[in-house]
């Protein structure tokens, strides 16, 4: 039982981390980026390429991946968001779907369809607590999640650059009048989202393996977490992610493993229909 709960909890943390980059972009510029899952996947694939093909130690591969993904984030923004940012929401959504097809098939062309494994920072070792076997990688996931989510609240409230980002998110016109370079801030938002994608990618890849479909699989789960928690809410995202992770594990081991994803999608639709604001969704009211 403890083992199940730990597994569900750690999966939920990954959903929250994967969804965070998506929510960050949504809150900052109102763009819905359906390609964020592919960015998470590329974070993992770059890590694999730098550590396995180029033989870098994992920490160095992580740093180089951050740089590579920062560039990808800026490119993404320049190509698929900035030119159409004043168009209807549906245009932005469809352009991001186009980017997701582009990235997924680029991964297929570069790395092929077979699953690849990225090593964890803590290897495959496990610790035993009573009858439960818990991997060190799961503990790493908890630590990173705690660090990222406390870090972000300090970053946005205490640092100058974080406040500038928040100002841009609230009112681009006013931010521009205050001398904030809005385009630069939007670029920065996409870079931060790409960083979060790298973190999520490095944590999920040792568990799920990397293949060209993994980005879609992870972002779909992240969407469900985001909807449960309330679109745009960061505490809601964490709660929604953990709720989903736990539900999945408990449903799979006690009810049905074949239909566990069907149940997750039912939760998505039910929440959207019954309470579209989710658990923590006050922020949407401001947005609309």
């Amino acid at each position: 039982m403890i083992q199940e709960i730990v597994a569900g909890f750690s999966m939920g943390c990954i959903y929250a981390l994967a969804g965070f980059g998506f929510v960050l972009v949504y809150n900052a510029v109102g763009a819905v980026n359906f390609a964020h899952g592919e960015l998470v996947m590329f974070g993992g694939y770059f890590g694999y390429a730098f550590s396995t093909h180029l033989g870098m130690p994992l920490w160095l591969a992580f740093v180089v991946t951050l740089l590579a993904m920062a560039i990808l984030g800026i490119l993404f923004n320049q190509v698929a968001y900035l030119p159409i940012r004043s168009r209807p929401v549906s245009t932005v959504i469809i352009a991001s779907i186009g980017m997701s097809i582009l990235l997924r098939n680029s991964a297929l062309a570069i790395w092929g369809p077979d699953p690849l494994k990225l090593n964890s920072f803590l290897g495959d070792s496990v610790i035993k607590i009573g009858a439960a076997v818990i991997s060190r990688h799961q503990l790493l996931i908890f630590a990173v999640t705690a660090f990222v989510f406390t870090g972000q609240s300090l970053f946005f409230s205490r640092t100058a650059i974080g406040r500038k980002l928040q100002a841009t998110a609230q009112d681009q016109e006013a931010a521009k009048l205050m001398g904030i370079k809005v385009t630069r801030m939007i670029n920065l938002t996409f870079v931060l989202a790409a960083f979060l994608a790298v973190i999520a990618g490095f944590l999920v890849a040792p568990l799920w393996f990397l293949d060209p479909e993994v980005g879609l699989a992870i972002i779909v789960k992240a969407f469900i977490a985001i909807i449960i928690g309330g679109f745009g809410s960061i505490p809601g995202l964490v709660v929604g992610g953990i709720f989903l992770g736990l539900t999945e594990v408990l449903v799979a081991s006690h009810l049905t493993s074949e239909y566990k994803d069907v149940i997750s999608f039912f939760i998505l639709i039910t929440v959207l229909m019954a309470m579209p604001q989710g658990f923590f969704g006050e922020k949407i009211a401001e947005k609309v």
Binding site: A80, T91, I94, I97, G98, I101, F223, I227, P276
Partner: protein, 315 residues
């Protein structure tokens, strides 16, 4: 509203070309295949054209309706004594009911929330097909689906199938056209432009949206039934999100909400795919880039581009 003389002449010419087109390709299985698949996808694209073109909503779950149409048609023609046409009718009705079901959330939520609902719907249908092995045969799918027949006439050849598909394209087009000219069609377009204003003017958003989704489900179910009995075997992997996205792209490339857009967009992309087949997996990379390109430079598709060029030529 009457028909303009010029439009009638154009329609007659296009109709004539479409009627005799397969005679040239009759001996080529390959070209007949492209024509027939394009035809089936045109019916499917007309379905999304209703939802996106008339209500402004995006669906990435259309594979769900398509799958319902395909599996119900296949199941009825294989498992019961029912003929093809009644089976197709029941299958399309089932898909229409699923459409109406999906129409209910559409009255309350839009934008990206609705996109996620449709994603959930499509995935639920696919996962059920995949796991309900007793009925759907799971990953192996259904094989040896009989070709459509009408009395003693069997649509066994690709050439005869072309005219069957053409018939259903005409039905879909006529239904779309009569919807466009009816009170409900105008109500839909007014909801798309401004829901609050339209409601204030007496448009009932619930009935209007349910009619739209019911018809969209019907078209997609028809397409699914035609698909299943044409290719003869179906399995869950054909009905993934990729298919839904492909249909969305066909709708947008042609020009959403126009009468000819679905035909142009679907045929263009089907032919392009065959033409660029030598690129293999790189084609899909180009395809993704193409979607972004279309969104940036021609958001109203080929029909929008044509309209812009013709109005510039006039002035």
């Amino acid at each position: 509203m009457g028909f303009k003389k010029k439009n009638v002449i154009i329609a007659v010419i296009i109709g004539g070309v479409v009627m005799i087109l397969p005679i040239f390709f009759r001996d080529s299985r390959y070209y007949m295949n492209i024509l027939n698949f394009s035809g089936i996808f045109i019916v499917l694209t007309y379905s999304l054209n209703l939802i996106h073109g008339y209500l402004g909503l995006i669906s990435i779950g259309h594979a769900g309706f398509f799958a319902i149409g395909a599996y119900v048609t296949a199941g009825l023609t294989m498992g019961t004594t029912l003929n093809f046409f009644p089976s197709l009718l029941i299958a399309s009705t089932a898909a229409a009911l699923a459409g109406i079901l999906l129409g209910f959330p559409a009255t309350r939520i839009g934008g990206h929330y609705f996109v996620l609902i449709t994603l959930g719907f499509g995935e639920i249908v696919r996962l059920i097909i995949l796991n309900w092995k007793e009925v759907t045969n799971g990953t192996n799918g259904l094989n040896n689906i009989p070709p459509p027949s009408f009395g003693s006439w069997v649509f066994a050849s690709r050439f005869s199938y072309y005219y069957l598909v053409l018939f259903f394209i005409l039905v879909t087009m006529l239904l779309t056209l009569s919807l466009r000219r009816s009170k409900y069609g105008r109500s839909m377009l007014s909801l798309k432009t401004g829901e609050l204003a339209a409601t204030a003017m007496g448009v009932n958003p619930l009935t209007t949206k349910l009619i739209n989704f019911g018809m969209a489900g019907l078209f997609a179910g028809l397409a699914g039934g035609l698909y299943a009995s044409y290719i003869g075997s179906i399995s869950p992997e054909a009905f993934s999100v990729d298919l839904s996205v492909e249909v969305l792209v066909m709708t947008l490339v042609g020009g959403s909400g126009t009468l000819l857009g679905p035909i142009i967009g679907t045929t263009f992309l089907m032919v392009l795919k065959e033409w660029l087949r030598f690129l293999r997996e790189y084609y899909m990379i180009l395809y993704g880039a193409g979607i972004v390109f279309v969104m940036i430079f021609m958001p109203y598709g080929i029909m929008g581009l044509a309209k812009r060029i013709s109005s510039q030529l006039k002035s």
